[in-house]
Symmetry: C2
Subunit: 94 residues, 2 copies
């Protein structure tokens, strides 16, 4: 995931309930800002769920502005490097 | 997932090993055709892995042409309707 200055507008998807992330993203959109949902590995499916629930139920004017896929290199505890896929879903309020 | 005529150029991601799907997609790209990787639910993460491995290791000229997210309604065995997220990743050979 790229470092950027708008970290406040990023929502990182982890293992919490889906609605937590939907609400976090909703608050960003309500401030008329573009929100970026980020996830890697198995959380990618979860990120797509969050984005779709947000767009279909809570922010019906919202649009997908950009969807980026990439690969990140992570170092395991035992020093091994592994490749992990990641997704960034940018959603604009209108 | 949208029905379309180019079904031969779709790769549906399921539970087989990642490389099976990478190779299937690779063959489509080698025929100079645009390939569409499709998945729903938890297979979405797997689809992103397939697309990234394909692009980074086997088809370095390939580009993401379009990435679409959507929601499909599926009917369970007991007649319940459930919403499932889906992804379509279009990859062009150049």
């Amino acid at each position: 995931m790229s470092d950027d200055k708008e970290n406040d507008n990023n929502v990182y998807i982890g293992k919490r309930p889906t609605m937590n992330y939907v609400m976090a993203a909703m608050m960003i959109l309500n401030n008329d800002k573009t929100c970026c949902i980020k996830a890697r590995g198995r959380a990618i499916s979860h990120a797509v769920d969050v984005a779709e629930i947000l767009k279909n139920k809570f922010a019906k004017d919202a649009k997908y502005k950009d969807i980026r896929l990439s690969t990140e290199q992570l170092t395991n505890n035992d020093g091994k490097i592994s490749n992990v896929s990641s997704i960034e879903i940018e959603i604009s309020p209108k």
